[in-house]
């Protein structure tokens, strides 16, 4: 495969993005989105031909649908003239990204992204957008402020983004064929590793185990007891009377348990640090908001000559 092709595809996508960003005419925006999507599809097709890892048709279709949804929503978010619509399209981007995460079997992250991003952070953005919206009636194009209608130097911006994308392409395309994915044995080992540390998980993970089964005590034992069968993982156990049995493992520790265990076992210091960061951010936001209220009060009191008017006017902002 000629190495120049991914860069041509990147350039095509960039031209499409530029047309969508810079043009005000509907025809050019449509042409731009067609060119951009074609470039992206080409890039994805080039990427699919190198390295393995193509799943079955269903998951591949889901991936492509979510990818197209994420990218088109992202472009509409960036190119839209109404900030509120931009925020709503960002919610769509998050939903599409979460769909991809579900395809990747990262269920916990997918659902926490929906809750935290689409549920909490975006609501904060919407609040501020509503607070800072100048014209409440933005039905007409002319009432949208100039700084939302006209982008600032779209050519340079898109060129920088295209160079950035080219760097990513340069990094990804040669390297990917030298990487090997985790094998089924690696996955079984990872599961056994976690199961060994969660002894109470055994009884609910293995279906049809006898009453007097001797569960493995160490990671080594657990890894020896879990075998990769034809249709999934099999637990080879021993009872206290010395009999052996095979039982399928139905409810292995799932994604949530894996993430939770890794969070507390591998990154306890980072977890504490994250808490401190959140606390500091809260303090910072409170300090900033308080300063704002006082400032507005002074200005209003100076202009109106009545200290009480300022308080009444500012009560919604003070609550923020």
């Amino acid at each position: 495969m000629p190495t120049i092709l991914p860069y041509i595809a990147t350039a095509a996508s960039a031209i499409g993005l530029l047309l969508v960003l810079a043009s005000t005419q509907r025809v050019f925006r449509l042409i731009g989105s067609a060119v951009g999507l074609a470039g992206l599809a080409w890039l994805l097709w080039l990427a699919s031909s190198l390295g393995d890892g193509i799943g079955d048709v269903a998951t591949e279709v889901f991936f492509l649908v979510f990818a197209a949804l994420a990218v088109t929503s992202a472009v509409r978010m960036v190119s839209g003239v109404k900030p509120v619509y931009s925020a709503l399209f960002f919610v769509l981007v998050i939903m599409a990204v979460c769909g991809m995460l579900v395809v990747l079997e990262a269920f916990f992250i997918a659902f926490s992204l929906v809750i935290v991003y689409a549920g909490a952070i975006l609501i904060t953005y919407m609040f501020v957008l509503m607070l800072a919206q100048q014209a409440s009636d933005t039905e007409h194009e002319s009432e949208i402020p100039q700084y939302d209608r006209a982008p600032r130097d779209p050519v340079s911006g898109v060129i920088v983004a295209a160079i950035f994308m080219s760097i990513i392409v340069t990094a990804v395309f040669p390297a990917i064929s030298q990487m090997t994915p985790a094998s089924a044995a690696d996955r079984a080992q990872s599961q056994a590793d976690l199961l060994a540390r969660l002894p109470r998980q055994w009884a609910s993970s293995v279906d049809g185990a006898p009453e007097d089964v001797v569960w493995p005590k160490t990671t080594q034992e657990a890894m020896g007891a879990i075998k990769v069968g034809v249709d999934g993982l099999v637990f080879q156990g021993v009872t206290s009377s010395g009999q052996t049995f095979n039982a399928p493992i139905d409810r292995l520790p799932g994604n949530t348990q894996h993430v939770g265990w890794s969070l507390v076992a591998s990154f306890p210091a980072s977890l504490e640090l994250a808490g401190v960061i959140l606390l500091m951010a809260m303090f910072g936001a409170v300090v900033l908001a308080r300063r704002q209220v006082e400032h507005a009060d002074e200005a209003l009191a100076a202009s109106v000559g009545d200290t009480h008017a300022g308080f009444e006017d500012d009560s919604p902002e003070a609550g923020l």
């Binding site: 990427a47 990818a67 392409v169 890794s262």
Partner: protein, 109 residues
């Protein structure tokens, strides 16, 4: 080939990385071209989404959950950033009555 198929469902790692890079680049282009302060911060959140996809794709590829744990930390930083940035934006808006980033080209008292 079936072995590989279980390793990465739906799209190869390269495709996920391409999508991740595309989202990141669109966010970058938006951050550079938009003039509305709030939309600029939304674009940084879009760049975060690109990082999240790359993290989780690598996590799936290596079957190593550390990548997903780091997404939690990304979420934390994004939430902290949103709280502080939006407080600042409200503060700036109340001073100049505009969300235009160009109104703040000279940052001084």
């Amino acid at each position: 080939m079936t072995m590989v198929a279980t390793a990465m469902a739906g799209g190869s790692l390269a495709q996920y990385l391409i999508i991740s890079g595309v989202l990141m680049s669109i966010g970058l282009a938006g951050f550079l071209t938009r003039r509305n302060l709030i939309v600029m911060f939304l674009c940084t959140e879009l760049m975060f989404q690109g990082v999240v996809i790359a993290m989780v794709a690598f996590s799936r590829w290596h079957w190593e959950v550390s990548g997903q744990v780091f997404v939690i930390f990304i979420l934390t930083v994004a939430a902290a950033e949103a709280a502080l940035a939006l407080a600042l934006v409200v503060l700036l808006y109340r001073r100049r009555d505009t969300l235009d980033a160009e109104a703040w080209t000279e940052l001084r008292e």
